[in-house]
């Protein structure tokens, strides 16, 4: 059956080159990198080479990288690690209201420990206003965390302005770049951030890999205590195959990024144009220009995104609603709520995330199948073509 996988924000296939690099570290080269004998120190060297590759991808140095088990763990370490380390200075943190749950729920966890969190609103495109951030800063603010690009609506934040506000006030600035690293250029110096999280899942690395960049001046309280791994900042024997895979994926991403970005942009624009021309009553979400090159997100009126995803899957097309709330908890996505999308319209959220392996033929296939799927679902819909009264829906928090 013909098909098109357009859910790369959820998972990317492990690249062939990455898999080849990883395999020896499951069996022949199995030693523990903490061991002092030769086969252990050889593995340690391999881990450090991977660290250098990851650092190179984002313009950092090796000493500034901590390997983690995911982007979510990196976000937890950034938010809680800084909060715990700096709590004598203050107990207030600021995050945007459209952060990934690993940031939002870390902030809420800290609230239970008598920290205070401000959840910054965003505009209709999902952009955080730097002026609003400046107003939210208090004498006891110790950390600001605002994601580089949103995984659900694709919007890229005005990082230079946001980081300038943080620098002017002497506050550490963390960004979750899990959605953007490997899709677009991410350089910690250009972004002027103190901490940055990334994930291997959307980079062609194995699942269960990630990293946190932190500037040397940032003190981080470890969340996993134990041995000397990651210089005492994250205990536990290293996931050597995963780390090797992340390093190889980072090396490939750095080489291929300029060409890949152009390709993604072309396919994304083709998809957005095609859907806008072929389907009525559809709202494009996120920023029209400042957005991830491989990301297109829509809300289709009078249908359930979940139902559309199942219908498209029957044609071999894989997309996503973009939110675990919408997919699993049957609640309105907090991101779509934050950008002011009507609750009924938010139910029709569908996210297409494109990667280098996708082709024009994939997009044409989606444009062939999608209009009929939307029309069929609308034919069952009791609300299609009717005026929807305003009502309050339980927004997932």
């Amino acid at each position: 059956m013909k098909g098109a996988y357009l859910d790369h924000a959820s998972a990317t296939p492990v690249r062939k080159e990455v898999l080849e690099a990883i395999l020896p570290y499951f069996s022949e080269q199995f030693a523990n990198p903490s061991n002092v004998y030769d086969i252990g120190s050889q593995i340690k060297q391999v881990v450090e080479e991977a660290r250098a590759s990851v650092a190179g991808l984002i313009g950092a140095t090796s000493e500034e990288i901590i390997f983690t088990s995911s982007g979510a763990e990196a976000n937890n370490l950034a938010v809680k690690g800084v909060a715990f380390a700096k709590q004598k200075k203050g107990k207030h943190i600021i995050v945007s209201s459209i952060e990934h749950h690993s940031v939002l729920n870390s902030a809420r966890f800290l609230e239970r420990l008598d920290f205070e969190a401000t959840f910054l609103p965003v505009d209709a495109y999902g952009v955080v206003d730097p002026g609003r951030l400046a107003k939210a800063i208090r004498p006891d603010t110790i950390l600001v965390s605002i994601m580089h690009a949103n995984n659900e609506i694709g919007t890229i934040q005005p990082m230079a302005e946001l980081s300038a506000v943080c620098k002017d006030n002497g506050i550490f600035f963390h960004t979750d770049a899990a959605a953007s690293v490997g899709q677009t250029k991410v350089d910690v110096n250009e972004l002027n951030v103190d901490l940055l999280s990334l994930s291997g899942t959307s980079l062609g690395a194995p699942k269960g890999t990630g990293a946190l960049y932190f500037k040397k001046k940032v003190r981080l309280m470890p969340l996993i205590h134990g041995g000397i791994q990651e210089n005492g900042r994250r205990a536990g024997t290293e996931n050597v195959p995963g780390i090797v895979g992340l390093g190889k994926a980072a090396e490939l991403a750095q080489k291929e990024l300029p060409e890949k970005e152009t390709h993604l942009r072309k396919l994304r624009d083709l998809l957005i144009k095609g859907i806008s021309e072929r389907v009525e009553k559809v709202e494009f979400t996120g920023h029209p220009n400042n957005r991830l090159p491989g990301h297109a997100s829509f809300c289709f009126e009078a249908i359930e995104g979940e139902a559309l995803i199942f219908m498209l899957a029957q044609a071999g097309i894989y997309t996503n609603t973009g939110s675990a709330c919408a997919s699993k908890a049957l609640k309105t996505s907090p991101v779509l709520g934050a950008i002011g999308i009507r609750a009924d319209l938010a139910q029709g959220s569908t996210v297409f995330s494109i990667d280098a392996a996708n082709t024009v033929a994939d997009i044409e296939y989606v444009l062939e199948k999608l209009p009929a799927a939307v029309a069929r679902l609308r034919s069952f819909s009791p609300i299609w073509g009717k005026e929807i009264p305003e009502y309050e829906e339980d927004v997932c928090t």
């Binding site: 715990f84 004598k88 040397k216 003190r219 309280m221 470890p222 000397i228 210089n231 005492g232």
Partner: protein
């Protein structure tokens, strides 16, 4: 324990939030890159360091100069002797 004040240093190592044995491993690595006679400042909030670092200096042949209590950590000073 010898308390000192306003001690200058050639290098500084921030180990705040990190625990045993990083308070011994990192100064060991850092001192290897320093010149004989230079002074290393170690910042730590790990109580065990107060006993361990002077003992470790004695074993390794370095001079423990003393410590100063800062607002949120201890500052320990080591003079490289060899």
């Amino acid at each position: 324990m010898k308390f000192i004040k306003d001690q200058s240093s050639d290098e500084s190592l921030d180990l705040v939030c990190r625990m045993c044995p990083m308070h011994l491993l990192e100064p060991g690595d850092k001192l290897k890159c320093m010149q004989k006679g230079q002074i290393l400042e170690v910042l730590t909030d790990y109580d065990g360091a107060l006993e361990d670092i002077p003992d470790w200096c004695e074993k390794c042949g370095h001079e423990f100069l003393g410590l100063e209590e800062d607002e949120d950590c201890y500052k320990l000073y080591i003079k490289k002797k060899k």
